[in-house]
């Protein structure tokens, strides 16, 4: 059984001294608090959870990134969340979080692929969609978008290229865009196809 989150934190501080570990609560009903670890000690903490006989977290289930842009009072950061389970002892989850700055040049997190091979594709996806670089990843390149793509689409400040098409019943953002484009008049001229080339 996984002990309470405070005891997990104590165990981590014993195993990886110097790590800064905070407890982040989940929604009250979910009862899935997580440990926020600093970047330098993430690998050591993860290794501890994998190898310690009490936990044996040999299965990394889910790796994802979350983007928190800067607000008026708080700086922005990108968070990477790891969900660990154990097949040997059938318990879990232990949730690890780590934060990195949002600027692309400094957005680096140590990769946990050397510990769990299953993180490989998910970390590549986080790199592709968020721009998080995982140091120590064996093969970090884009996985879902094409290689020549330069943006990181899941960031909150991503603007897709302008590709407006007339909508018969616009609402919300599309209505605002329609008004910018000059109104709700439907297409008038016939759209005849002139053939190839």
């Amino acid at each position: 059984m996984i002990p309470a989150i405070e005891q997990l934190r104590e165990a981590v501080l014993v195993a990886a001294p110097g790590a800064s570990v905070e407890i982040v609560a989940s929604t009250p009903a979910a009862q899935q608090p997580s440990l926020l670890v600093n970047r330098e000690h993430l690998f050591a903490v993860a290794k501890f959870f994998k190898e310690d006989a009490r936990f044996q977290m040999d299965f990394c289930s889910c790796v994802t990134g979350v983007d928190y842009p800067a607000k008026a009072d708080k700086p922005g950061f990108i968070e990477v969340v790891y969900h660990l389970y154990s097949v040997a002892q059938k318990h879990g989850p232990i949730i690890l979080k780590v934060r990195a700055p949002r600027e692309l040049a400094q957005c680096e997190v140590p990769s946990l692929t050397p510990l769990w091979r299953g993180c490989e594709f998910q970390e590549r996806e986080a790199y592709d969609l968020f721009g998080i670089r995982f140091t120590g990843h064996p093969d970090l390149r884009r996985i879902l978008m094409w290689d020549e793509f330069t943006d990181h689409p899941m960031r909150k400040d991503y603007r897709p290229p302008l590709d407006y098409e007339w909508e018969p019943t616009p609402h919300g953002e599309t209505l605002a865009r329609t008004k910018q484009m000059g109104g709700l008049t439907p297409p008038s001229a016939s759209m005849e196809k002139v053939g190839a080339k």
């Binding site: 094409w146 020549e148 793509f149 290229p161 407006y164 297409p187 196809k193 053939g195 190839a196 080339k197």
Partner: protein, 214 residues
């Protein structure tokens, strides 16, 4: 028909059928349209279901689903066409031999469907290649696909061999190959082939930055 009705009926009684060459030619072509196996997403499952024993698309001549585009007449674009996949779709269309037809099956192939807001979703395959029949639905039932094949058969029956009304493949100057888009830094280049599809609003002149500033 250029022949007298009564004469035709009389000849039929003797077992002689008189039809225009055009009718015969189109009948042969429309009764054995071979689709290409090209399912992209969810609509592909309904396409396969239309080919299975319960709905049986083979009754309409779509007997064999060819794996290679070189041997196929019909490309059923079933599913969402993403921008990553779009150059491949256009290349496959170019590799098919004339006469070739395209059915856009499902809302995603017609216009992007429920995923229209996607950064990776192509808003309809008719941005790059000409489409003959559109089937709405998400996914359309197998019966709808059969209806589409029947509509295509009716369209083929109406194509003419005579000068002035010939379809594209009889024109020696027209090319059957459509330009393949390439991957750009933010979007496909070009985002739309204006010879095939004209966007209702000419918004290409307004750039993204101007919209954001407004």
């Amino acid at each position: 028909m250029a022949i007298d009705e009564k004469l035709a009926l009389e000849l039929q009684k003797h077992g002689i059928a008189v039809v225009p060459v055009e009718w015969l030619y189109n009948w042969g072509r429309r009764s054995s349209i071979w689709p290409m196996q090209f399912g992209l997403a969810c609509c592909a499952i309904e396409m396969i279901a239309a080919a299975t024993a319960r709905y049986d698309l083979a009754r309409f001549g779509a007997e064999v689903f060819r794996a290679t585009p070189r041997q196929a007449d019909l490309m059923i674009v079933a599913g969402t066409v993403t921008k990553k996949m779009a150059p491949q779709v256009v290349r496959l269309y170019n590799q098919m031999a004339e006469p070739k037809y395209v059915i856009a099956m499902g809302a995603c192939a017609i216009s992007g469907g429920p995923f229209k807001d996607g950064y990776n979703v192509l808003k309809g395959i008719d941005r790059y290649i000409p489409v003959d029949v559109h089937i709405p639905g998400c996914p359309p039932r197998p019966e709808a696909l059969m209806q589409a094949v029947i509509t295509l058969q009716q369209k083929i029956a109406g194509q003419h061999l005579t000068k002035g009304q010939r379809p594209r493949w009889y024109d020696p100057t027209a090319s059957a190959e459509y330009p393949v888009p390439s991957y750009g830094a933010h979007d496909l280049e070009p985002p739309v082939n204006n010879n095939v599809y004209q966007r209702p609003h000419q918004c290409c002149e307004v750039t993204n930055e101007e919209i954001i500033k407004k």
